[in-house]
């Protein structure tokens, strides 16, 4: 079996950030042009980049820092503080399973374990070797009266059961 193809390496501490490729550079430039004038522009910029690229490439950090007259450390600090922002691409499908109390009360933890087991993901390795799926815990999707809940590729699913979860994963067409 081939080793996973990691297009973007994780950000290295301290060293020079990897260069953006032309497509990434174009996206970063476009988002900066559109949002740099906003008051408190950093989060909207990071959202804009992640929405279009699926993650915030480490190489974008110095570019953003220059545009906003911030230090690289400040931008890096913000990217890594917020759980929402990714510094490397996720799998082709992203499953977020809620593990807040209301979902725990109705079997959320077992669903998370089931998803990880089924897809070959773990807490330490949220994305599986095939890079087909990323499984992450999330903390409340606001569907607490219809728990347990999860979000798959941006779509919400409530009142999940082991069978319904299995059907959802099967529908991604990427599991054996």
């Amino acid at each position: 079996m081939n080793a996973p193809d990691r297009a973007a390496a994780a950000p290295s501490a301290g060293g020079p950030a990897p260069q953006l490729n032309p497509a990434e550079q174009a996206v970063v430039d476009a988002v900066l042009a559109e949002r740099r004038h906003l008051a408190g522009a950093l989060l909207p910029i990071l959202h804009g980049i992640q929405d279009r690229l699926g993650y915030v490439p480490p190489g974008a950090q110095p570019v953003i820092a220059r545009a906003l007259q911030l230090s690289r450390a400040e931008v890096h600090g913000v990217v890594t503080f917020y759980h929402h922002f990714r510094s490397e691409p996720a799998g082709r499908h992203v499953l977020q399973v809620c593990r807040a109390e209301a979902c725990q009360a109705c079997g959320g933890e077992a669903l998370l374990a089931q998803a990880r087991e089924r897809l070959g993901c773990s807490e330490a390795q949220p994305t599986n070797a095939a890079r087909s799926h990323t499984v992450e815990p999330t903390y409340c999707l606001g569907l607490c009266a219809q728990s347990p809940a999860a979000m798959l590729d941006g779509r919400l699913h409530a009142r999940l059961t082991p069978a319904r979860l299995e059907a959802l994963l099967a529908a991604t067409g990427e599991i054996a």
């Binding site: 008051a39 408190g40 522009a41 950093l42 989060l43 909207p44 990071l46 959202h47 906003l68 400040e74 600090g77 913000v78 503080f81 917020y82 759980h83 929402h84 922002f85 807040a100 109390e101 209301a102 979902c103 725990q104 009360a105 109705c106 999330t138 903390y139 409340c140 999707l141 606001g142 569907l143 607490c144 009266a145 219809q146 728990s147 809940a149 941006g154 779509r155 919400l156 699913h157 409530a158 009142r159």
Partner: protein, 533 residues
């Protein structure tokens, strides 16, 4: 011959998550196949969440509800819906009768949620036809002092959890020196068990916009922000569209409802940080930084967003304001008990049969909510523990279920009403595991600024692990219990904000009320609440 049918299928996330769009597709397919003239209104959710997807049909007797409907039910439902629409009644296992007469709904006191589920959330016509903008029009006709007086007299307190009187906060901002002021809505509803903010934003966004516009008039602000958590993309989309439409229609923007005053509103998205629900961390986030809690003073009311005087309230607080202006402070104040005036949208969640939104005046008991509305657990097993007020709220055991839900009465038993979230666990719950989770969650979400929260939460996980692992070793076990209590005391007294300062609530209440789960003999009842305090 073709019949006409008007149906309502919610666009709320709660309905979408259980297949509302598939239901609509199936309905449209039926209509096309039978040549029926079909109008589908995508309303907000009525909040009867165990019945979602709740499909309603317009009939001569009013709207009739069916639920929980799935796409597969549509073929058998179709003739019944047509019969209902023609006023001939109908019979179907999913038929719930006239929506307004469903006891769960009929027994509520809906002020904030009066329109949610009734109207098309983005229809300005619907909003205006259901008392929308009445509060803003009243505010425009008054001066700032009169608006502040109304909000103060209404007794409205911050619905985000801290319960600070809204009128006093607003007055502080209004009187603060400075030409630039802001109105910020904290819509970072991260508490597990809560979804009322989401339902307002998705189901009645103009209500929030109206409440914020009134606040802006009262304090002299021209710019507002709504900080919505990234887990609520649907709410962000609905709000952005609603702001656009309300601005186009002149309700906000350059000339707020003809007042000659400006108020511009923007939606900003959080990024998955729970601590950004703390108001100063939220301000940092809005300014483009890590969500690190600020020390107070200075109060945000004096030096808030970008250093300017800022009104910060939660969604439900702003959403209560239009009613107060439209119907008068006395009308609102009349609801509730003690110093807890008005209504609170409670949210019944977790392992509960009839989960959903219940808006009632303060003063009812948890037991009324759990039994009267909730109907016991979904699993059918006995209720063991109920967490009130989010992940930082205490677990309440049955002995406490008759305490009236009001801010002071709850504070007196070492609990918090918080944002009105109520999470039910049945007797399979392990309260030691839940206490551990509370510490784990704090460790994950701590902003790291103060030591009791940053370090204490991690130590808390370790202590609970040792405590549980040493059930058979009384001496070590007792040491760990002492250590845990000591640690909680430090976190309670030494943390900068509620994140570290309230994490001990669920931990200590679990330890006090469910000692057996920690491998302890049952504690004497009298000491329970004192220790949690």
């Amino acid at each position: 011959m073709s019949a006409a049918l008007t149906l309502y299928v919610p666009r709320d996330s709660a309905a979408l998550a259980v297949g509302a769009d598939a239901v609509v597709d199936a309905l449209r397919a039926q209509a096309a196949a039978t040549g029926t003239e079909l109008t589908v209104v995508r309303n907000g959710s009525r909040g009867l969440l165990w019945l979602e997807v709740l499909l309603e049909v317009a009939t001569p007797q009013g709207r009739v509800a069916y639920g929980p409907v799935s796409a597969e039910d549509v073929p058998t439902l179709w003739p019944v819906l047509l019969a209902d629409a023609a006023g001939q009644g109908g019979s179907h296992p999913l038929r719930q009768g006239v929506t307004e007469q469903i006891p769960y709904l009929a027994r509520q006191e809906r002020l904030t949620f009066a329109r949610v589920g009734v109207t098309d959330p983005l229809s300005l016509g619907d909003y205006a036809a259901h008392e929308g903008w009445a509060g803003l029009k009243a505010a425009v006709a008054q001066d700032s002092a009169a608006i502040l007086q109304a909000v103060t007299h209404s007794g409205l307190r911050g619905r985000g959890g801290a319960a600070f009187p809204a009128g006093i906060k607003w007055r502080t901002v209004a009187q603060a020196p400075g030409s630039i002021k802001y109105v910020v809505c904290n819509a970072d509803e991260g508490d597990s068990g809560t979804f009322a903010d989401r339902m307002v934003m998705e189901g009645d966004p103009y209500l929030l916009i109206e409440g914020m516009a009134i606040a802006a008039l009262a304090v002299g602000a021209e710019q507002g922000f709504i900080y919505v958590r990234s887990e609520y993309p649907q709410a962000v989309a609905v709000l952005a569209e609603a702001i656009e439409r309300a601005t186009q229609a002149g309700w906000i923007g350059a000339n707020v409802a003809g007042s000659g005053k400006r108020f511009d509103l923007q939606v900003r998205m959080g990024a998955g940080s729970y601590v950004c629900g703390e108001e100063t961390a939220m301000l940092e986030s809005l300014e483009g930084r890590r969500g690190i809690v600020r020390a107070k003073p200075p109060l945000p009311a004096l030096q808030g967003l970008f250093g300017q005087p800022t009104v910060i309230n939660n969604v439900l607080t702003f959403a209560a304001v239009p009613t107060i202006l439209a119907r008068g402070a006395d009308f609102y104040r009349h609801y509730g008990v003690g110093r807890s005036h008005g209504t609170l949208p409670f949210q019944l969640a977790g392992n509960i049969r009839h989960g959903g939104l219940v808006e009632k005046a303060f003063g009812l008991t948890l037991r009324e909510l759990l039994d009267g509305f909730g109907g016991g657990t979904r699993s059918g097993r006995p209720i063991k523990a109920v967490q009130v007020g989010g992940p930082l709220g205490a677990y309440l055991s049955e002995s406490q279920w008759d305490v009236p839900l009001d801010y002071e009465a709850y504070a007196a038993i070492g609990a918090v009403v918080g944002h009105g979230g109520i999470v039910v666990h049945d007797d399979t719950a392990d309260l030691a595991a839940l206490a551990r989770y509370a510490m784990e969650f704090c460790a994950l979400e701590s902003c790291g600024k103060c030591t009791p929260c940053r370090i204490g939460s991690t130590r808390g996980v370790e202590v609970i692990d040792r405590l549980v692992a040493n059930r058979a070793n009384p001496q070590v076990h007792e040491q760990q219990v002492t250590l845990l209590r000591d640690l909680c005391d430090t976190m309670l007294g030494g943390s900068l904000c509620a994140m570290g300062g309230m994490t001990p609530y669920p931990v200590l209440s679990a330890l006090n009320h469910y000692p057996a789960d920690f491998g302890l003999a049952p504690a004497p009842v009298a000491s329970e609440t004192a220790a949690a305090n």
